[in-house]
């Protein structure tokens, strides 16, 4: 009988406990859910920030690595460049394209993406930056222009006749001809002797108005050196292109004596035009060829089998000396204070040829990609 009484008893402890557990469980679940939501919201904010920073990095990378020739190859109002994707570490990358808006203004559009483990995008952000090419401006008055004393002797040749470098003809390089210029423009004394040759239109031109303030045209030497992309720290013995072993091979612009590859149209360095600057006297010896703009804040001494394609500017004197069977050749022109073009051996030559094509390519190719000074950064939606 006792057992049957117990079986018949009805309590409410279990019901109360279950009720309490349900209520408490619901509250805990709600708290957990809202906390989880907050955590996810915070994570999304982080992903968005990472994507935005990746987009910025894509812009910076574009400004730092895009060369002037690649920009100039784009058509105004035409299709943008091929997309370039930069990996920025684990699960973050940026893809950029460049459009040419006008002859001198370009838009870099960069989309940064934060991905999950399998690679699906978690957040993307797009920004743009308006950039332009800052191209040095130079007034090339002739093959050679100098203030002070000019000596052309030995077998040296100076020409103001517009000359296209032979290898560039038919290599896809546009070289519209320009008017010939004077062979030598000077404000000082010009001495010519030996078997030297000066040609041009006219061959020799005295310009008493030329002075250090206007010799380069609208651009000052200090402005040019501020655009330098290759700062030399010592004299140079031998110049030539440096190509990395990567696939595809790229031009290694960090090498001091890599001044481009003007004589090899297939080289990755063929379109590399550094603005080369050296403070103090600079000696170039050995052999090789380079291109760009050579700026020397001091005296420039060149000796050996050296060719240079583009303007050469020295605030001091320029001494060019052929050595027997070797040649020193300049396609572009020389601007300096005093110039000595000498060739002590009969079989050697020191040659300066005015070349509008070499100068134009060097000036355009050495243009620096820079953000617009004002309002260049654009939030894209």
């Amino acid at each position: 009988m006792r057992a049957s009484r117990l079986q018949d008893e009805r309590g409410m402890a279990l019901a109360v406990t279950l009720f309490a557990l349900v209520i408490i469980g619901t509250l805990v679940a709600g708290t957990f859910f809202s906390g989880r939501l907050e955590e996810q919201s915070g994570s999304n904010t982080i992903y968005a920030a990472q994507a935005a920073e990746a987009a910025e990095a894509g812009i910076s990378d574009g400004i730092g690595t895009t060369t002037a020739p690649s920009l100039l190859a784009l058509t105004v109002g035409g299709l943008p460049s091929n997309p370039v994707t930069v990996s920025l570490g684990s699960r973050v990358d940026a893809t950029r394209q460049i459009s040419r808006l006008t002859s001198s203004v370009f838009m870099i559009r960069s989309t940064g993406t934060r991905r999950n483990g399998p690679g699906a995008p978690l957040a993307t952000r797009t920004t743009g930056t308006l950039v332009r090419l800052v191209t040095p401006r130079l007034l090339m008055r002739g093959g050679l222009s100098a203030i002070g004393q000019i000596t052309v002797t030995g077998n040296a040749t100076v020409s103001g006749i517009d000359t296209t470098p032979p290898l560039w003809t038919g290599a896809g390089v546009e070289c519209p001809p320009e008017a010939d210029k004077a062979g030598v423009v000077y404000n000082g004394t010009l001495t010519q002797n030996g078997s030297s040759v000066i040609t041009g239109n006219p061959p020799k031109q005295s310009d008493p108005t030329m002075n250090p303030g206007n010799q380069l045209g609208g651009t000052g030497f200090s402005q040019l050196k501020n655009l330098a992309t290759l700062i030399l720290t010592s004299n140079i013995s031998g110049i030539g292109p440096a190509v990395s072993n990567s696939a595809p091979p790229t031009c290694n612009t960090l090498v001091q004596n890599n001044w481009g590859a003007p004589l090899n149209t297939a080289s990755p360095c063929f379109n590399y035009f550094p603005i080369i600057y050296h403070y103090g006297d600079l000696s170039i010896s050995g052999s090789g060829a380079g291109q760009g703009i050579l700026l020397v804040e001091g005296n420039l001494n060149v000796q050996g089998q050296v060719s240079f394609f583009g303007p050469v500017i020295a605030t001091g004197s320029v001494n060019v000396r052929g050595t027997g069977t070797d040649d020193v050749k300049f396609y572009g022109g020389i601007i300096a204070s005093d110039v000595q073009l000498d060739d002590n051996r009969l079989s050697g030559n020191a040659t300066v040829l005015y070349s509008s094509c070499a100068n134009r390519r060097a000036l355009q190719g050495s243009g620096v990609v820079t953000r617009l000074a004002q309002r260049g950064w654009v939030q894209l939606y």
């Binding site: 402890a13 309490a20 408490i24 708290t31 906390g35 808006l101 800052v134 401006r137 309002r375 939030q379």
Partner: protein, 283 residues
């Protein structure tokens, strides 16, 4: 049936007391859990509020242009103090799709990217003026008032947006592809309404009144701006500002019991963010 006996009074009373104690404990537990849940929800709302507000403020200030020594047109911060800022807020960008006249600029729809379409009177236009394409020294942005907008127009290569502008002779001759940007003048400030502090915003160029957009914030110190120059030092010179330190201090809408047995109080949270002005990279 007659042999069965019921509970005695003592048994019933003891049962009732035990049940009351259990129910009291359960009630207390539920109450604590409920308070915790409410506090958590308030904190989540508060943090979301502050974070969203911070993101919105930073996004609006990020594109500001400042430049020491430049004209007023190149300095987008028009007025500032510790709890308010008036500035040109960029709202979109695009490219001209055909040569403009002195009173008309047409933007390619394909190139256009904006927060919204331009609005007459409320928005103004900046048109890039290249001058000599071989030099950057004469580059500038021409400010132009927008008097009418038509979005049902066409460019040579697709849809376009036609902006009728105030007369500006210097627009004539600009090339197709020239970049443009449009903006409105905005004010952000700590705003008092309904006895609370809010982040208030208004379009100055549209003549709007300040509207609360986020809050509530802590009175007096809910929205604090600190203006820094290139060296990271605080500056009073609007043209020298390179970054802005934005502090948002939010406060919960309702009072919550913090911890077990804590007195009801409104919880606070803050977020400090520093935004570098992207168009002020030059010294």
């Amino acid at each position: 049936m007659a042999s069965r006996r019921g509970f005695t009074l003592i048994e019933v009373m003891i049962s009732l007391v035990i049940m009351l104690m259990v129910m009291g404990a359960v009630y207390k537990l539920i109450l604590s859990s409920q308070r915790l849940a409410r506090e958590q929800a308030e904190r989540v709302n508060l943090q979301s509020n502050v974070r969203i507000g911070s993101l919105a403020v930073l996004a609006d200030l990020r594109e500001l242009n400042t430049a020491t020594g430049e004209s007023a047109g190149n300095n987008d911060i028009l007025a500032k103090d510790v709890s308010s800022i008036t500035y040109r807020a960029m709202r979109g960008a695009g490219y001209i799709c055909q040569a403009p006249t002195a009173t008309q600029v047409r933007i390619s729809r394909i190139s256009f990217s904006g927060y919204r379409d331009p609005l007459a009177t409320r928005d103004s236009l900046y048109v890039f003026y290249d001058g000599d394409p071989d030099t950057e020294t004469d580059d500038t942005w021409l400010p132009v008032a927008i008097t009418a907008v038509s979005t049902a127009t066409a460019c040579p290569a697709g849809a376009g947006i036609t902006l009728t502008t105030s007369n500006k002779d210097s627009l004539v001759g600009l090339a197709s592809g020239t970049p443009v940007r449009f903006f409105e003048v905005m004010e952000l400030k700590l705003h008092q309404a309904d006895g609370s502090s809010w982040l208030g915003a208004r379009s100055v160029s549209a003549g709007e009144a300040v509207q609360p957009v986020l809050g509530p914030l802590v009175n007096d110190s809910g929205f604090v701006l600190k203006y820094l120059n290139a060296a990271g030092a605080e500056t009073a010179d609007r043209t020298a500002i390179k970054s802005i330190l934005v502090t948002l201090r939010g406060i919960s809408e309702g009072a919550v019991n913090v911890g077990i047995g804590g007195a009801p109080t409104r919880v606070q949270d803050s977020l400090v963010s520093q935004i570098m002005l992207r168009n002020s990279f030059r010294p």
